[in-house]
Symmetry: D2
Subunit: 154 residues, 4 copies
């Protein structure tokens, strides 16, 4: 029994859902979700392409971080508060004026730290255009251990 | 003699400027630019905050990549075509419902590869909330060596 | 037709071979090599274990970098001068007093930049204990473009 | 009042000290230690140089990880069990047949996760030759939460 359906995950990505509007504007489409991983599509669109139609690396990094939230939630069977500890992206090829597909999977589910990766490619070619690897902290309820700064956190 | 003024850099970030609209929506404000580095501000805004007001890690990664384009251009004295090779971000503290300031600097300017870092903090505290380090490729004119996939690149 | 045999690769790892003696002391055993990738084994040994028998993360990082040299050489069909641009390792589990196996593969072979990854696991469990991702520069003959500092490079 | 003196830190690096012999063979010299950071020297030596005298990237990564153990211990005022979560190194210049100096500092000391960086340079030039950034887990006494695999951990 899955934790989330594709429809439930998609709903979290819509405006007014789980993510703020700047993430919703990526227009991500969840294509598959299971304990084995998540596949999502970043549709081609001018607002995320730089001169010449190259899909923004910034959009891929945001997509990676967003996809991993779902990936860990599905693998854990719950949606805890999480915080990215470290995320590295290697950019290998430029995707030009086309959709980008991301395939994410959890690599390790620890009690307080989880690890995952996202591989990006296009419909035209299975060769990866980019790869993200990340460690996330799974926060205890109430986030008591997470350092905050700023207006509410000082 | 600087390559870019703060005003010129800011203009590149406005809608219709050098960056596509999804990056422009971050609302980045360039505060200082010199060969020694770039300081920019990500103003507090709900569209880049998740529940509880935490500023999105995705926004910081996009800010890092964007700031480094200016940083390398200013240090090189020209704006070549560049492509991010690798970008790593470590997230140390949550910034809550506040501006985030980034301080970027170039660490190495090679003929074909350049390196830089961005440190993020808030007005409330000089301690870093996040740090990005990156390698960028400086592309030869015409981008002949850069692999592209997709509609125009297949 | 392969570029290197397992025996040739192994010979490069022996004292007096391609790598300096500190790398040779890891005692790496090449188990398989092809254009699809490289498998190598780090034998259990006290000199690379810290208290409690935990295999050193330092040894895994050195193993990753070393394995990728072979991996790129085999995929390229030649052994060019290479220089690591960036290498990230995520450590997921501790390997305790046991061999560690690394599986490396090339993800992108560009003219001047190549990308690869190494996944580490143990005989006891196929789940990854660590993962390295890296970008390497492929240097033109003569290394003319590579910045050097120090005794000979000043 | 400092937690460790230079002499105490140096003793931990000697054969039979805190680190296994493969790390001791780097011959690291601690030059300064304080809550503000750690400076250490990797002496020039053939066993860590590849053809042409280039100091091994593998040695710098091992040095970074090792230095951060001291750096976090000094900043925390105790030597807890720690485990590297993620370590990224960007290699900017080749150090040729010379000492390499590392300057490490803690960037964030959380209850369960700490962050730091190490910048590498040579006596000839203050410009960085490499930079490592890392996140470490600070383990509770007994390491109960740390996943182990292998002979003792299965």
């Amino acid at each position: 029994m899955a934790f989330m359906t594709v429809e439930q995950a998609q709903e979290m990505l819509e405006p007014g859902g789980h993510f703020p509007s700047w993430v919703a504007e990526l227009g991500l489409r969840i294509e598959a979700i299971s304990a084995q991983g998540l596949r999502a599509r970043l549709p081609r669109a001018p607002h995320i392409q730089r001169a010449g139609g190259v899909v923004l690396g910034q959009a891929l990094m945001a997509m990676a971080d967003t996809m991993l939230v779902f990936t860990f939630a599905e693998a854990l069977g719950r949606l805890p508060s999480m915080a990215t500890i470290s995320l590295t992206t290697n950019f290998m090829r430029a995707a030009v004026d086309c959709d980008v597909i991301g395939q994410a999977r959890a690599l390790k589910l620890g009690r307080s730290t989880v690890f995952g990766e996202v591989t990006f490619f296009t419909d035209a070619d299975p060769a990866p255009i980019a790869q993200s690897t990340a460690a996330f902290a799974v926060l205890p309820d109430g986030n008591a251990k997470f350092t905050r700064v700023g207006a509410k956190g000082a």
